[in-house]
């Protein structure tokens, strides 16, 4: 390590930037949330009391976390098999698959959300298909429903699930699979007993990214969910910019931050546990 001992001052500019423009602002936000009135004169926990004792507010929080969870499960169910296929594919096919997986990530999230507005709209392809096969007479409302938000979130965050899964599966020694087959275990048993546990760190990392992305996806939530579906990011924005109620908006932000942070800590702990299980 001595070789790098003298390099540490290089971290200072970045540290200074993050201290001034990330840590201090977040601390200020926390401080603002501890005022009881919008003119910032009286200290108190009134904003948190107001949030946590109101059914509407709790509903907004619950709905946000619930839709995030559903989107994560959906992304996992569809994304894991794709990660598996990409990981065991021959190199040429793997390159193509990686490009297909990465490309949506580099296309604007607004564009990807817009795609869902087109697909699920009254004149969209889903309504068109349903009408063509005679299931519906008039276009049904698909946009502005919770399910639309879940499907759109899962699709938009899908690459974030697949990429860590590919990495984790790529790190598994294929001989373990072969040994399992040779010892008589079938495909499914080998997958459940060998491959799945060994890929758990990547799977959990993917779930974490999708979940964190989903609960704070302002654009997708507002455009696909519309005005009827109030979720935490939009609530925070509305309270700060439209209602000018900074203390309450700050409290909403802190509660969302705490919810995401709690999940991050839980998942990281579970990840460490699974790693010691596998390697310990």
């Amino acid at each position: 390590m001595r070789r790098h001992a003298g390099d540490w001052p290089l971290v200072l500019p970045l540290t200074l930037f993050f201290a001034v423009f990330v840590l201090v602002p977040l601390a200020l936000l926390g401080a603002v949330s501890l005022y009881s009135d919008t003119t910032l004169t009286t200290h108190g926990v009134a904003q948190y009391v107001k949030f946590l004792t109101d059914r509407f507010n709790l509903g907004v929080l619950g709905q946000t976390l619930w839709l995030g969870l559903l989107a994560t499960v959906l992304a996992l169910v569809v994304g894991y098999p794709l990660g598996y296929i990409a990981a065991v594919a021959p190199p040429a096919l793997q390159r193509v698959l990686l490009l297909v997986i990465v490309l949506p990530l580099l296309t604007s999230a607004v564009v990807r959300t817009f795609a869902w507005v087109v697909i699920l709209g009254r004149q969209g392809i889903v309504n068109g298909l349903l009408a063509a096969i005679g299931l519906i007479d008039a276009p049904v409302r698909l946009l502005y429903t919770p399910w639309a938000v879940v499907v759109a979130l899962a699709q938009i965050q899908l690459p974030l699930m697949v990429l860590p899964v590919i990495t984790a599966l790529g790190n598994i020694d294929p001989n373990l699979r072969h040994a399992s087959h040779a010892l008589g275990a079938g495909r499914w048993r080998t997958f459940v007993a060998v491959t799945l546990p060994l890929s758990a760190p990547g799977l959990l990392a993917g779930c974490l990214l999708v979940y964190a992305g989903s609960v704070s996806a302002f654009v997708t939530q507002t455009l696909v969910g519309g005005g009827q579906l109030m979720l935490m990011p939009q609530y925070m924005y509305q309270q700060a910019i439209q209602a000018n109620n900074y203390p309450f908006a700050a409290a909403v932000a802190m509660i969302l931050l705490a919810a995401v942070l709690a999940i991050v800590i839980v998942v990281n702990t579970v990840t460490k546990k699974t790693q010691t299980l596998v390697h310990g």
Binding site: F21, V22, P25, A115, V118, A182, R189, A250
Partner: protein, 278 residues
């Protein structure tokens, strides 16, 4: 993948192989369709000759691309501003993050791991909260919103991408190379410039590219930190889609998709960017 050596396959294991392949193939295929189809549908819709986003379009024409180019100065101005903000923010973030990565790489101390977690936090935490927090800071400082406040917010979200890819490249670097350079008399900066930098350049480039796209795409930060005059492209598009579903949004999306594909293919050749995303 090579198959495990086996003699005559039992009926049960054939069924297993078959059902496993079908289940994973179906789910994986669905994932591919989900990844590709929305983009294709937007591209097709953008060439509609109608006034609505009906799919499939009743007929085709490039009229909305023409409308975008000829009669949409506000969208073009927003696009230019987005490029400008993303370029400045990426440049600043690259300098900060590369220096930070060199300082932190291969360090195991608690402070180094803690700093790393802080620097990576914008990837995980709701950036909308960071946007609001920065707005509170600038209000407290009595600073009005400007291009500067916007860029500051964007630097924070650009940094983690570059830090991650640069650190990964530094860890793959053979430390013996630097030792050789040093023992041959190279000063620290000279060794960095002639040995380290060329070898980690693809990693830095890939990170900077992803950071640029993240900044260009960001709504959460810009929503709070841009003043009335400076509207960035994703927010302009958000307004259009939310308000009246103008078909020009489809044309603008078409341009963004084409730009992403072209940039991606160029950078894949130069830096192998897809490797760095994992």
């Amino acid at each position: 993948m090579a198959e495990a050596p086996r003699g005559r396959e039992s009926r049960r294991s054939r069924v297993e192989r078959w059902s496993f392949g079908v289940a994973f193939g179906a789910a994986g295929g669905l994932a591919i369709v989900l990844l590709v189809a929305p983009t294709v549908i937007v591209l097709i819709t953008s060439f509609t000759n109608a006034y609505s986003l009906k799919f499939p379009p009743p007929g085709y024409s490039p009229r909305w691309y023409a409308a975008l180019w000829n009669d949409s100065p506000e969208i073009l101005a927003a696009a230019l501003l987005s490029v400008e903000v993303a370029a400045i923010a990426t440049a600043i973030a690259t300098v900060l993050a590369v220096a930070g990565a060199v300082g932190l790489a291969r360090r195991r101390e608690t402070w180094a791991r803690l700093l790393d977690a802080v620097f990576m936090s914008p990837l995980m935490l709701p950036t909308l909260a960071l946007g609001l927090a920065l707005l509170v800071l600038f209000n407290a400082l009595g600073r009005g919103l400007s291009m500067t406040t916007l860029v500051v917010g964007h630097v924070a979200i650009c940094t983690p991408y570059i830090l991650r890819t640069t650190t990964a490249s530094l860890l793959q670097l053979d430390p013996g190379l630097l030792d050789s350079a040093r023992s041959l008399g190279a000063r620290r900066w000279f060794a960095f410039r002639t040995v380290t930098l060329p070898l980690v350049a693809p990693g830095i480039g890939a990170g900077a590219f992803i950071a640029f796209m993240a900044s260009f795409d960001n709504v959460a930060i810009s929503l709070f930190l841009s003043d009335a005059r400076s509207e960035v492209l994703p927010i302009r598009m958000w307004h259009i889609i939310e308000a009246n579903l103008d078909v020009r949004a489809a044309a603008a999306s078409g341009v963004l998709i084409a730009a992403a594909v072209i940039l991606m293919l160029v950078l894949e050749r130069l830096t192998g960017v897809s490797r760095h995303l994992r």
